[in-house]
Structure formats: C-alpha cells, structure tokens
C-alpha cells in the first residue's frame, strides 16, 4: 500500500468532504450531533461506577453472568471487555423481554432431539433456558466448593470450556447449547447498538472502527484504502429524524 492509505480520511480528502452537510445531513442536525458527542465522551468516567439494574437475573445468576462475560470477551489494551461494555445488562434486558419469552420461535411439540442440521429443538424459551442452566451451574459449583465469581480466571476458563465441550446436562439443557447461546448473545450485546443496553459508549465499535448507524458513504466509497475516521453514531444519537420524502411518491395508503 502507498503512504496515502495510512493517512486519515479527513487529512487526505479534506474536511469539507466530511462535513455532514455535504453528506446529506442538515446542518442543524450536525450541530446537535456534535453537542451529543461532546456530552457523552469525556464525562464517561463519572459513570464508570454505575451498575446495571438487573430485572431478569437474580443475584446469584448475576455473579456467574458478569464473570463469564468477562472471560468470553476480556478487557485488555485492544478495547473494552464485555463487562465494561455492559453486556450483562444487554443479556438481562433481552432475556426479560420478548426475545427471552420466545419471540419468533416456533414453539409447538412434539419435541425430540434432532440432528445438528435441524437446529434448536428444545421446548425452553431463551429466558427459561438461562434460568434453568444457571440454577444447575450454580448448584454444580456449590458442590465443587468454589463459586464462579471467586475462581481464578484460568479456572473460570476451564469451567467455561467444560460447558462448551458438551456432555454436561444442566437440568435438561445440554451444556453446549447453553454455552452457544451465551456466547452468541455476548457477541450480540458487545456489538449491537447501545440502545439495547450493551456496547456502552460504543466502545466495541470504536475498537474496530465501525461507524454505527451513520450511513452515507457516497463520497467516501471510491477513496480506496483511506481510513474513515469519524466518531460512531448510535441510533439514539441520530435523533434528528431526517426523512427522505419524494413528493412524487405517495407516502402511504
């Protein structure tokens, strides 16, 4: 690659191209956005002590979930861990609402174990599956003597691997099925829009350079190899509700 590609988008194509107005956003809205950026970034430290209010998980479940999330996506210099990104809060809100109670899940029997190609075949809703599996895990750990939250990181990893490997029965939930759902939802919570309660401060997006709900790259698409440097935008931030109305097209019935 030539040198140009290392330079930032702003430097190489000029700030004017990047101005929101040029990208189709009304100027007022752009000002409002900048205000939001200002308000939300540096003040973050005062919020760090804040803890999610858990509505779905009970206190014992929270201990496991918080510790497990942090092992699945640990904090390091690359970017935030799942705990810091409030993934447990995301899980809590999803499991306590429509998704947790089986939204878009075909729920009639008869029930029977299928082949891997047939996908999920258990009667549990995601909410039931988490409660059931977590009860069994906490009971199992009580027998072993050390609660998950008090184990070393290595021991936690080993325990999670034992779930991932499968074979354990968690009161009817195969451990591998639980682990798979936990991991999938952890990744969801890490990378989904912050309006869902995870990806706090869009930190996971900042880590990889995903601009979020910001969505106009007409001018940038053919500036090949040039890094697009722009603070990401959450659904909540893009609150100016710009509507694309073509007067020639009837809006609705």
């Amino acid at each position: 690659m030539d040198k140009l590609s290392r330079r930032s988008f702003v430097k190489s194509v000029g700030a004017a191209t990047l101005a929101p107005a040029a990208l189709g956003l009304p100027a007022l809205a752009a000002a409002a956005e900048q205000a939001v950026h200002k308000a939300s970034t540096p003040a973050a430290s005062s919020v760090a002590a804040e803890k999610p209010l858990y509505l779905f998980f009970n206190a014992e479940e929270v201990v496991f979930i918080e510790a497990a999330c942090e092992r699945l996506i640990p904090a390091d210099a690359t970017g935030p861990g799942a705990l810091e990104a409030w993934v447990p809060n995301y899980l809590d809100k999803q499991l306590g609402a429509a998704w947790g109670s089986g939204e878009r899940l075909y729920r009639s029997g008869p029930w029977q174990a299928g082949t891997p190609s047939q996908g999920y075949q258990l009667p549990f809703t995601p909410g039931e599956l988490f409660h059931t599996a977590l009860r069994a895990i906490n009971a199992d750990l009580k027998l072993q003597g050390t609660p998950f939250g008090e184990m070393t990181a290595d021991a936690q990893d080993a325990y999670l691997k034992s779930l991932e490997k499968g074979g354990k029965d968690l009161d009817g939930v195969p451990a591998a099925v639980f682990f798979d759902m936990l991991l999938k939802m952890t990744v969801e919570g890490y990378f989904s829009d912050p309006v869902y309660g995870g990806n706090k401060d869009m930190a996971a997006w900042k880590m990889i350079g995903f601009p979020g709900a910001y969505a106009n790259y007409y001018e940038a698409i053919d500036k090949h190899g040039v890094k697009f440097e722009r603070a990401p935008m959450s659904l909540a931030q893009n609150g100016h509700g710009h509507v694309h109305v073509d007067p020639n097209i009837p809006a609705s019935l």
């Binding site: 690659m1 996908g119 969505a215 697009f228 509700g241 097209i249």
Partner: protein, 589 residues
C-alpha cells in the same frame, strides 16, 4: 361458515414482487383484481425511515422483516429416513412477509441466466454425453428459451432501473462487461455503481490471471432514475444496511419504489393486508378453481370467488398452497412419480477470506447490497467440465455488502472462538479482510423434495411444508473446484493469508446461505415432470397460474430474481394476449 364475498376477475395470492407486477398489469388491462397479502402494509415513508432502519440487532439477528415462524415454519430433514423437525428459528433462508414481500429486503443483485441454463439437460447431454450426469440428478429443460424471455428481462430491468454494464449487446462483446453474457437487446438502464476497494483489488487480480471481471449488476441505483411506470428512484449512498433491511432512500428497487404507487392508484385493484390465504377452492370436477378461502388478521374467514387465481406467494409458499389445495399430484421420491414438490433446489454457497496487513484498509461498512466486482469464468457451462466430474459452476466475486459487526467479524481459521485471542483477532482483521462470495448452482436430485408435514401445523391448524434436502455430490464437487480457483485470486491480490471455505455437507438450516429456494412447481413441456406449462399455467387446473422461483427446474449459478421478474412479465404476456382472450388450457399435453 366463511363469509362469501363478491366475485372478482382475478385474485392474487401474495402481494410481493411477482404479485404487485401481475396485479398492476391486469388491473391496468381493465380486470377487477383483489390482492391478498398476509402481512402488514408498509411504505418507504413512514415505515422504512432512519434512524431505526439501521439496527443490526433488530433486522439481521432478530429478523424483524421475516415470516414469523412462531406462526408458520417449515419442517426439515436431510433424508427421508429421518423425522423432519420444525425450523424453529430461521437461519439458512429468510422468507419475507408483508406488502412487497421478500423483495423489500433483498440485496438487489440482478443477474440474467444464460441461454444454456434454459436447455441445461439437452446441452449437457450434447456436450458431455448421456452418461456424464450422476444418475440421481433430475435436471431438465425449462420449456421456455432465453430468446423468448429476453424482452421480459429487459422490461423487468427497466422497471428496476438496474445499474450495470452490458457485456453482449446484440451479439457484440462490450469491453468492461461480462463476455459470457447471453445477447441483450440494450444496455442496462443506468451505469454501474461506484466500485468499492475490495472490488477494485479483485478486478486487478482477476485481470492479471486472465479472467473477465465486471461490475455486479445492481438494483441499488447508481443515479436517480424514473422508470417506465413514471416512478422515481434515487441514487444509493452505500449505507451498508441493505439486505435484510428496507431502504430509506428510495434507492433500492422494491415494489414500494417501482410499482406499488401506480398499482394502488388504480380503482380496479383492491389490496387487503393481514389476509392469510388458506387454500385455493376447486369445484367438484377438481379442474376449475372457484376462488380462495382466507382468514383475516382478526380471525374472520372469507371466501373470495374469482375467475382466475394467481399464486405469487414465494417459491416455498407456492408449493405449499398447491399441496393444501389438492392441485396437481404430489411427488413421491420412492416411485419418482408425481410433480408437486419435485425438483426442489437451492444454492451452493462457498466463500474465501483474504487477510491483509493493516496497511490495506477496506472500510467494509461502505457498501450496497449489490456492490462489487465478479467473474463468470467458472459459472454455468462457461468452462470445460469434461475432466471435472460435475456440471454447473459459480460466480466468484468480491461482492462485500456490509460490515455490520455482530455478523461480520472475520478471523483466520484456527482462531479461538472466544477470549482474548479471539477479541484481538477481531480487532486486527475487521478493516483488513476481503471476502469473496462463491455463488454456486444447485442441481435438482431425486431425493430432494417438498411435501406436507404429517405432524406439525401452523397457527391456523394447517400442515407445515416439509423440506427434505441435502447437497448433491455434484454440487459439493463444484464448490470444491471453484473455491480452489477463488483462493488463487485471493493470493494474486497479495493477501497475507487466504482461507477457502468450500461448501461441505450435510446441508444445515443453522447457517445463512441465501433465500434462493427454487423448484417444486416446475415449468416444462411434459405434465409427468412439470406442474405448470410453459405459460406458467397449471396443467391440472387451467385457471390457476403459479409464478415464482418455484418454476425453476434447477437453480443456475446466479441469484434468481431477475429471472423471476422475466417470468412474471412472460406470464403477463401469456395471460393478456392468450388466456384472458380465450380462457382454457393453453398447451395441450
């Protein structure tokens, strides 16, 4: 007792892409048309607007726009010896629901099939001999030729405003287009989209290797366009929220942006949404449809009498509708007899990931659903199969459509699936990876079929559709071969690591491939091996026409919708110029 409604000329079952076009044409020709759509009405404004449309969790992961499979699922098994179980959550394919159908949340990749595809069985025998094919493949000719469909492809592309570059204009090969293209009468209505970096890298490498790259034909438009219906579209801004999403910009050609505004103004047309059609009703002869029975959103049952029934409810639903209505003989894989549900096919998708160092910055989130550059050198019968032991092929392209991170976070093979190493790999490769799509054909095979499930029911108490499917050996061999070629292109791009991922069996419902489900109401010239004649009219009940990818006898190397559109206008032509002038069986068996 269902309430019996007033007679109409035509009832259209499903107001998606096919249904909107047929309804528009027949209403404009003066017929009274009722369109029954099971889902909600919805429009660019106010329904598809920002910021809420740019929500990966809701649309990609939770599949907000898809058929609600809590109410209506499909059961699945790989082989008839297994018990089919419900696909309790969609993953592999995503049928849509609601006004505009799946077309609302398509990518806009708009390909024609080639002349050869419509006569595949004949041409394969001619070129490779009668014994070349695996014995259990049931491929056959379509009964309609490319030449017959060409004007209808053209009309559909001009309706959409498709952006592309012709490769073969009236027999003259055009530089920069696809030289393998079958003859087209004129160029695309709008020029190709801007090329993204991945496309440009692919173009360079493929050219060096002697292949023939060209811009992907896209119905996310490169510039503003007014279609022949007088409806206006805008230019796409590469927002990266396209497939699985509705477009807020009027830039993606979908029923709402190409034809519904005209259809809904016509007083001959009445749209009823929230109406779940249960079956097509037949008279006592079983040779004539009298209309349809449907249940509305409030649970009330109605009978809508009609002189003509059009089934345009998406490939899988078309098959199920015929089975639920007792139209045509259901296919039996044990005897090979029967036709409804026969020749179900799909798509055989493989991929290649090319990993670069961090000086190659690709910005994967800048994309449209149909941006990119590809080659057809290994598609269809564009290469010699004599020594290869399979037929068919795939297009290979850098057709990156998004960088939405829940789904898109490529890591090299062998990376841990969680923990610190996984996270660091995600951060390292997100902006420095080029993905190729290897979009392969799917041959029909004796064992693969659709019928009604004996056990599981939908929310209205009707049997679910049952799918029995696994990849034919032929297609897995094809995937292996073409993926190998694609890996060479990744290496020629100078990637540090190139990982080929050829499709492997068994077919699984747990991974997305495409929503290109085909077959089951196949068209053809012989009622023993087809459900509809070449006019897309039922052999058994001549006042029922069935239109969709369910008409494909097997699925070629490209996305289906341009061909579905061509078949739709073809059917309109057969209806307006033949059937409606003199209703009756158009083709004698």
């Amino acid at each position: 007792m269902p309430q019996k409604l007033k007679d109409v000329d035509v009832v259209v079952v499903g107001v998606g892409m096919v249904g909107s076009i047929i309804a528009k044409e027949l209403a404009a020709a003066g017929y009274k048309v009722v369109g029954l759509e099971r889902g909600q009405p919805r429009f660019t404004v106010p329904d598809f607007q920002g910021p809420s449309v740019h929500d990966e969790l809701r649309f990609d992961i939770r599949k907000a726009l898809m058929q609600d499979n809590a109410r209506e699922a499909v059961t699945f098994r790989n082989q008839s010896s297994q018990t089919a179980l419900p696909i309790r959550r969609w993953e592999s394919f995503l049928p849509g629901t609601g006004l505009g159908g799946s077309h609302v949340h398509w990518n806009g990749q708009t390909y024609r099939f080639q002349e050869n595809d419509f006569v595949l069985a004949t041409k394969t025998r001619e070129r490779y001999g009668a014994d070349f094919l695996d014995a259990d493949l049931t491929i056959q000719d379509w009964g309609v030729s490319y030449a017959e469909l060409e004007p209808h492809y053209d009309r559909f592309e001009y309706l959409l405003g498709t952006s592309g570059k012709a490769g073969n204009l009236q027999g003259k090969i055009q530089p920069g287009g696809d030289p393998f293209e079958s003859v087209r009468s004129r160029d695309y209505p709008t020029p190709p989209m801007k090329e993204h970096f991945q496309g440009a890298m692919f173009r360079k490498a493929a050219t060096e290797l002697g292949y023939h790259p060209y811009p992907q034909p896209s119905s996310n438009l490169s510039q503003p366009y007014t279609n022949p219906e007088g409806v206006k579209l805008n230019a796409c801004v590469f927002c990266g929220f396209c497939e699985r999403y509705a477009c807020e910009h009027y830039a993606k050609a979908v029923p709402q942006t190409i034809i519904l505004p005209v259809l809904l103004k016509n007083p001959n047309f009445e749209l009823r949404t929230g109406c779940q059609v249960q079956r097509i009703n037949l008279d006592s002869s079983k040779k004539k449809a009298t209309g349809v029975t449907y249940i509305d959103a409030a649970g009330r049952e109605f009978e809508q009498p009609a002189a003509l029934v059009i089934t345009s409810s998406f490939a899988l639903n078309n098959v199920r509708m015929l089975l639920l209505s007792g139209i045509g003989k259901p296919y039996d894989p044990a005897t090979g007899k029967g036709v409804v549900g026969r020749n179900y096919a799909y798509q055989t998708m493989s991929s290649v990931a090319s990993f670069f160092d961090d000086d190659v910055i690709v910005n994967p989130f800048m994309a449209s659903g149909a941006s990119g550059t590809l080659i057809n050198d290994f598609a269809g019968d564009n290469f010699d199969h004599t020594k290869l032991g399979f037929i068919g092929g795939a297009f290979v392209g850098a057709v990156n459509t998004n960088g939405r991170p829940i789904q898109y976070h490529p890591v090299p093979p062998g990376t841990a699936t969680w923990g610190k190493d996984w996270k660091q790999a995600v951060a390292k490769h997100y902006n420095h990876t080029v993905m190729f799509s290897i979009h392969g054909s799917s041959m029909s095979q004796r064992q693969n079929y659709l019928d009604l499930d004996p056990t599981y029911k939908d929310a209205w108490g009707q049997p679910l559709l049952r799918m029995t499917f696994d990849f034919p050996r032929n297609d897995l061999a094809m995937a292996q071969y073409v993926t190998g070629k694609a890996v060479e292109i990744g290496k020629a791009m100078g990637a540090k690591q190139v990982a080929g991922n050829p499709r492997k069996g068994p077919y699984t419902t747990t991974q997305y491939q495409t929503t290109h489900n085909t077959g089951g109401t196949v068209m053809g010239t012989d009622p023993a091996t087809s459900v509809v004649n070449k006019s897309l009219q039922s052999w058994d009940v001549p006042n029922v026409f069935i239109v969709g990818a369910s008409n494909f006898p097997q699925n070629p190397s490209w996305n289906p919708t341009n061909t579905i559109g061509a078949l739709t206008y073809w059917a309109v032509d057969q209806l307006k110029n033949k059937y409606l002038k003199n209703p009756g069986q158009l083709v004698s068996a």
